[in-house]
Structures are given as C-alpha cells and as structure tokens.
C-alpha cells in the first residue's frame, strides 16, 4: 500500500527542487547593461577603467546601493557611507574612523572625491592598487564593518532585488554566481563616478570666467610660486595638476622621530618594507579641502589654519623629511592669503548629482 504514495512523493520532491531552481535562475531577467557616461571637467585626465569592469548604469546603481546599505556590516549598523558621508565630501568629519564595535582606527577616512583618477596606490599608505581590491577590505576588517563576506554574499543571494540587480549589472545566470568580487566591482564603479564638477572659484578663474579676490590671487601666487611678489609656499610641488596631488608618498614632518624606525605609524613603509618610506603618507588631493577637516592621516589638525602653521614651521626633521618642507617664514597676511586660496578650491555642486545620493532615503 505504501508504494502507491511513492510517485506523488517523488513528484513533490521534483516540484520542490524545480521551484528552487527556478528561484535561483535569473536568466529570465533581461541583461542589457547601458554605458555610464562620465562627465569629467575638461582639465582632468582621462579615467582609466579596468577593461573587466566597465562603467554601466546598472553597475553604478548596484554599487550605489551596496555603498549605502548597512547589510555589509555584522550588525547592520554601518555601511561604506558611514565613513564616507556625502555631506562631508565623502569623509566622516572625524580624526580617525570608528567601526561597528566602537573601536577607532589609527587613520582618518580619506575623501573619495576623484578617487577613480588616482594612481600609484589608494589609501594613506597606498596598500591597494585598485578600487576593486580596496572595496573588499572594510567588510572583514574588525575595526570597520567587522562582518564576513560569506555572510554578506548569502544575504545578497537571498535578496530578490539585489539578485536582479546583479543579473542586470553583470549578466549572472543564477544567484549562486553572486560573489564578493562582483560586489566589490559594483562598489568600485560607484566610486568612479564620484568626480568633481570643475566649478570651484579656482576652476572658474582658470577658465577665465572670474577673477579671484586679491587675497585669493596672492594665495594662488604663493601656492604655485608664480612670481617674486609673494614668498614661495612650496605647495604645488606636491599638490600639483588638476587634482592637486602628485599621488606620491612623503614625510611632511608631522611626527618627531629619533630615527626612521621610531615612527608610531610607519605608513607607506609598512607596505613597501623600505626603511626610507617609514613615516610617509599619501599626498591627498586638495579639491574641497575646506570640507574635509580634520586634516592629515591621523586627523591631528582641526583647521586649515593649523595645517598652514605646520608647513610654515618646517616640521620635524627625519632623514626622509621631504626637501620641500622647511621653515617658510610666511607672515600672518601670507597665511591668510593662502587660506583664501584653499577655500577657493571648494565646489559642492558635484554633490548634488542624484547618482551619488543615498538610494534608501
């Protein structure tokens, strides 16, 4: 008698499995990614996008959701945007960032503005070569999101909306194909669209649209050492080009050190294991610098005035102190002018790009 129940039982099993397979299958969802057109200011270099991760509208929108979604953290309390807040020019306004367990790191969150245009490494110590590599780190980092990518990926697979978005962005055929690498690619795509508008007063001046104030112009003159009318503030040697950074790593004399092994944070040296790189950190872009206090890799300076005072002092000597760091002898007026120029680098118009906003609000 019992055997007569076997066929219906097997049928049910087949149906259940086939339902699961159908649910896993994403092939019915159209895959037709559209290129994302990036509008860079005319004076910016062309962005190099990895051939295996071209910018698409679908990829950028997926990355945007992941960037703002606390699903990436172990307790669903923080996302990438917790330390890279749009209203703070994609920093967090803190000296050093604090993760989900309330533990502070030893570095300040860098702004993401134009991060897709940087080269020679990403982060204060340049330990990542690509945005795709970098995007993988914070999830597992115990002092950041303190989660596990395995958990995150399972949550993403279980989420219908995310599954559909991964399909539309990357053409995967089943939920099983969702990986942390694809998530990182999407986040990297979103980060590449965080680019300046090129509408700061400085940009407008370069285009000939406006003339700066006397104070801004004197600061510009000092910054780029254009004339003998003002002292050379030596800024542009490291903050050069349209992004106002040379993408180099230097010791700018912040920290006293008895020798090259004595820096409390070895910075670049911890990555390269080269003694003379100890105490060196990435030269940040100065675009929108007035919006990204506090300053330096450890957020030690609260204001730009303190930053200027540091450079004017000549900093602390070490065998690898950059030769451009020395007592500049700037007057109070010189410093005010330099400050005025730094404020002329402010441009918040790019932050109103709707593609950069939080999609959950």
């Amino acid at each position: 008698m019992k055997i007569k129940f076997l066929p219906p039982f097997l049928l049910c099993i087949i149906i259940v499995f086939s339902c699961e397979n159908d649910d896993n299958d994403l092939k019915d969802i159209p895959y037709n990614p559209q290129p994302y057109v990036l509008n860079l200011p005319d004076i910016f270099p062309q962005m190099e996008v990895p051939p295996d991760n071209p910018l698409t509208q679908e990829g950028v929108q997926l990355g945007r959701r992941l960037f703002y979604d606390p699903i990436l953290s172990a307790d669903n309390s923080m996302s990438c945007s917790s330390c890279h807040q749009l209203q703070h020019n994609f920093t967090d306004g803190k000296a050093t960032s604090i993760g989900i367990d309330g533990i502070a790191g030893n570095r300040s969150a860098m702004s993401l503005e134009n991060v897709g245009l940087f080269y020679n490494g990403i982060m204060w110590d340049g330990r990542f070569n690509t945005l795709e590599e970098q995007a993988l780190e914070p999830v597992n980092n115990p002092i950041e999101l303190h989660n596990d990518w395995g958990n995150v990926v399972e949550e993403l697979k279980a989420d219908d909306d995310y599954s559909e978005r991964f399909r539309k962005a990357f053409g995967i055929e089943s939920r099983d194909e969702i990986t942390k690498e694809l998530a990182a690619k999407a986040i990297a795509q979103f980060e590449r669209i965080i680019v300046s508008s090129g509408n700061s007063r400085y940009d407008q001046f370069l285009r000939g649209d406006i003339f700066p104030t006397d104070s801004e112009f004197n600061g510009y003159d000092m910054f780029f050492d254009l004339s003998t009318d003002t002292p050379d503030a030596e800024c542009s040697h490291c903050h050069n080009g349209p992004l106002l950074t040379t993408n180099e790593y230097i010791n700018n004399g912040l920290t006293p050190s008895s020798d090259l092994l004595d820096f409390p944070d070895a910075g670049r040296g911890a990555v390269t294991e080269y003694l003379f790189d100890n105490g060196k950190f990435r030269v940040p872009s100065l675009r929108n610098i007035a919006l990204t206090a506090p300053y330096m890799h450890d957020g030690r300076f609260q204001t730009l005035e303190e930053v200027i005072d540091h450079y004017n002092s000549g900093g602390h000597y070490a065998d690898n102190l950059d030769p451009l760091i020395y007592n500049l002898g700037l007057t109070e007026q010189n410093k005010e002018d330099l400050l005025a120029f730094l404020h002329s680098l402010t441009d918040t118009t790019y932050l109103s790009n709707p593609d950069l906003s939080n999609p959950f609000e």
């Binding site: 062309q46 962005m47 370069l206 254009l226 080009g241 390269t272 003379f276 065998d319 950059d322 030769p323």
Partner: protein
C-alpha cells in the same frame, strides 16, 4: 546620404590602414629582433640609491627624488633613425630603493628592431615642443604625459626633470639641513643627446641589451669650477619670472647631457 558618407569614410579608413600597414611592413619575420635599453641611475661609480648619503665636494648629500622624461629614443644607422620609444617617464624615485634595484635599472623595450649594424643612438631629455603643447588631460593617467603631477599649468610645460635632495650645511652631518630642488621645464630646457661611432649589432636570437647610465653627480657640476654651491644654487623651478632660476636651470640642463653615458 548620411549612410553614403559613412560608407565612404569607412572605405577611406580601410585604404588608409592598408597604406599605413604597407609603409611599416619593412620588418618581416626573421629580420627583426628585440632590443632592451636599460637606464641605470648612478652616483659617481656607485648605483644611485634614493635617500642614501653621498659625498659632494666634502659634504654629505642625499637624493630623494630623481625622475625625468626621455624622448625620441632611437638607434641610428647613418642618417636613418629606428625609433625605440617616442616618450617615457623614468621614475628612479620609486625604483632605486636599494642597490640591487638600482642595478636592475629601468628598461625600455622594443620588440622588433630590424637586424643590422647601427652606429649611433640618440635620445632627448625632456618633452619635445610638439608634445609639450599638450596637457595631461589629453592622455589617460598611466600614459607618461598623462601624469598631472609632472605638468606645470602655469608655465604651459611638462616638468622635464626633478632632482630633489638634502645637503649638509655645516660640519655636523647628523642632520642634513639644506634642501635641493632642481625642477626643469619649458622648451628652452629640452636637450638632445647623440652618441656616434658606436658599434651596435642587432642579430637574430637573444635580446640585444644596451645600457645607458645617468650619473647624478655630474648634474651638480659647475663647469670647470668643481661643483655648484648648494647653499646659493640649491633650488630652481625654472621660474621664468626669476632670471637667476632660468640661468641655473640652463646650466643644469646642460649638465644632464654630460651625465648621460652609454656603457
């Protein structure tokens, strides 16, 4: 009408490609060989290691940044040039972090140089004027001319070379107080170097390697008067508004020519 125009342009493009290809097919298989030109930065007879201390006229100095553009690198066969590379950026700051790395040098390669005998080699230090009209925005960021850090917008010029360092200003060398900043740019600082009466034989088989050394110490020479006085001549940014900087930059540009040697 629009389609006809497109077709015409397409056809013309195809013809152009065929024409260009036919002009460069003078390197059939078996008649070319790879050539590596290795650039090595030295200080006197030692490999230049960034941040190491060296002697300059009895005073200790360090070189903390050493980088420059080379352009128009070519082998010469009589009056004919065989181009190796149009433009490249030599960044010894990143490369020369140890003696071993310094000895490796930076290699510029060309996969297919016609087999034959060459009697010369030429190169230039800096960016030729026709390329110096461009700006980094015209290139991708990994192209040598796409490096925003190596262009002075204010002078409308790439920075042809940077030599930075520190020097001792007294007899107590624990701290090197003085700073060296030699940043050359603008068309007037472009320099051409040509080596003649060479015997370079490119044969089928192993990669031909040619070594070029750049002796950083020679950049500090002051004609027949020994070496530059770094206390008074330790800095130039080729600022056209400061004649003293231009004069020093001109001497340094000439020194670069003397600093380049073929091994």
């Amino acid at each position: 009408m629009h389609n006809i125009l497109k077709l015409t342009l397409f056809a013309l493009s195809g013809i152009s490609i065929l024409f260009i290809s036919s002009c460069t097919t003078d390197e059939p298989n078996g008649t070319v060989n790879p050539v590596d030109i290795v650039f090595k930065a030295m200080y006197d007879d030692r490999p230049l290691v960034i941040n190491e201390r060296y002697d300059l006229n009895g005073k200790e100095i360090t070189i903390t940044r050493f980088q420059f553009y080379i352009s128009d690198l070519a082998l010469k066969d009589g009056n004919m040039d065989v181009s190796i590379n149009e433009i490249d950026f030599m960044d010894f700051t990143q490369k020369n972090i140890s003696e071993a790395a310094a000895l490796e040098g930076i290699t510029v390669s060309r996969a297919s140089v016609p087999i034959g005998e060459y009697d010369g080699l030429k190169l230039s230090i800096g960016v030729p004027s026709d390329l110096n009209e461009y700006v980094p925005a015209d290139y991708s960021s990994s192209h040598p001319l796409g490096l925003g850090s190596e262009h002075w917008a204010a002078w409308n010029s790439y920075i042809f070379s940077k030599v930075d360092g520190r020097f001792d200003t007294n007899s107590e060398p624990t701290v090197l107080e003085g700073s060296i900043q030699y940043h050359l740019g603008t068309d007037d600082m472009f320099r051409k170097k040509e080596f003649s009466e060479l015997d370079i034989s490119i044969k089928e088989g192993a990669v031909k390697t040619i070594i070029i050394e750049i002796d950083a110490k020679k950049i500090f020479e002051n004609g027949n008067n020994g070496y530059l006085d770094l206390a008074t001549e330790g800095e130039t940014h080729t600022n056209p508004n400061e004649p003293g900087q231009i004069e020093l930059a001109t001497r340094l540009a000439d020194n670069w020519l003397n600093a380049i040697m073929i091994q």
